[in-house]
């Protein structure tokens, strides 16, 4: 199993959640691989975790489009429980630097060559005084499939 880091960059300067440009990822036919997405939230901001504390809150969610890699399983890091002035109870959030991990399988029937896996990352960020509209970021990672 290969542990792979993949980074992306987002064009909108208003995004408070950022990634770095993608790195080249290599995976063997028939193998499993993990794709790591390191994320960074601008200081002072937090976003809801994948399991927010309140039904009205919008969760962080990474979804992958159907593609050449199979059975994507997204693993979210443990959230932080943080108290903010606008909430009577601590909220389940992410802040600073954190990583999302996705496990994939490369089909035994896959053909060698480069493929691109694409996904969408939806998040909703706030400070302790204001919230930004939910944003969805396109994630695109090139994968070199080898024998």
């Amino acid at each position: 199993m290969a542990l792979l880091s993949s980074l992306c960059c987002f064009g909108q300067s208003s995004n408070v959640l950022t990634l770095a440009p993608p790195e080249k990822v290599t995976a063997k036919i028939g193998s499993a691989l993990q794709v790591k997405l390191p994320l960074e939230l601008r200081p002072g901001y937090h976003c809801n975790s994948n399991k927010p504390s309140d039904e009205y809150l919008i969760p962080l969610k990474l979804t992958w489009a159907p593609g050449p890699l199979e059975s994507p399983e997204v693993i979210y890091p443990p959230p932080q429980m943080e108290k903010y002035s606008f909430s009577p109870t601590p909220l389940s959030v992410y802040s600073g630097n954190f990583e999302l991990l996705t496990k994939f399988k490369v089909s035994a029937a896959a053909m060698p060559g480069q493929v691109i896996i694409t996904g969408k990352l939806k998040y909703q960020a706030c400070t302790d005084r204001m919230c930004l509209q939910p944003k969805t970021i396109d994630v695109s990672i090139p994968i070199d499939i080898i024998k």
Partner: protein, 207 residues
């Protein structure tokens, strides 16, 4: 003539707003909203009359399906609040706005809420019912948000004077007392001058 105390108070408020503005700009840059309405503050004092721009008109439906047209509120001071059910800081302000609606509704004042929830009434209607919100709430459209400078940050609240002009913009959670000050300042301003007659406002502050 305004008293010396009031003049000093206005100056202090402008300095405070400018300080917050510098800090905010260093982090966020200048938004469309700021460009549209000439304000770039996290909180801003009521602007001088000649600096006020017309509040863009819109018609949206409230929870009962009745149309709400902003220009129908001409002659009233309007607190126009953009919010969402997923916005924690917005939820702090809503009880304040309910208080304002209750306190000033008979004094030519109204609160209007525009929700920017993506799923519209599905989230907003239960929330209105749960919190027993006593002012009119509409579900916003991208078009209306664009008219008001895209409104990327919530809460964003526009204080609209009796002439239908944007007198102040508050981005982010502000103190209740600051809103109250704005409301009183706008309600106490002389009524729009029509045909050369200046109508003095009703005395609102309690002694």
């Amino acid at each position: 003539m305004p008293s010396l105390y009031n003049q000093i108070r206005v100056i202090v408020r402008y300095i405070a707003a400018a300080t917050v503005l510098c800090a905010a700009l260093s982090i966020t840059g200048c938004s469309s909203l700021e460009r549209a309405f000439g304000t770039s503050t996290v909180k801003a004092a009521v602007k001088a009359e000649h600096d006020r721009k017309p509040a863009p008109d819109f018609t949206l439906k409230d929870v009962h399906g009745k149309p709400v047209k902003l220009s129908d509120y001409r002659g009233k001071v309007v607190l126009l609040n953009f919010w969402a059910t997923w916005c924690g800081p917005c939820k702090i302000e809503i009880p304040w706005f309910m208080d304002f609606e209750q306190t000033y509704k008979d004094k030519n004042f109204a609160v209007l809420g525009i929700s920017l929830d993506e799923d519209g009434w599905e989230s907003v209607k239960p929330y209105i019912e749960e919190k027993k919100i006593n002012y009119r709430v509409m579900v916003g459209t991208e078009q209306v948000a664009t008219l008001y400078g895209e409104v990327d940050s919530l809460p964003t609240t526009f204080m609209i004077d009796r002439e239908g002009r944007v007198a102040a913009v508050h981005i982010g959670l502000v103190n209740k007392s600051e809103y109250n000050h704005d409301i009183l300042e706008l309600l106490e301003a002389p009524q729009p001058n029509r045909g050369g007659i200046v109508v003095e406002p009703v005395l609102l502050r309690t002694k």
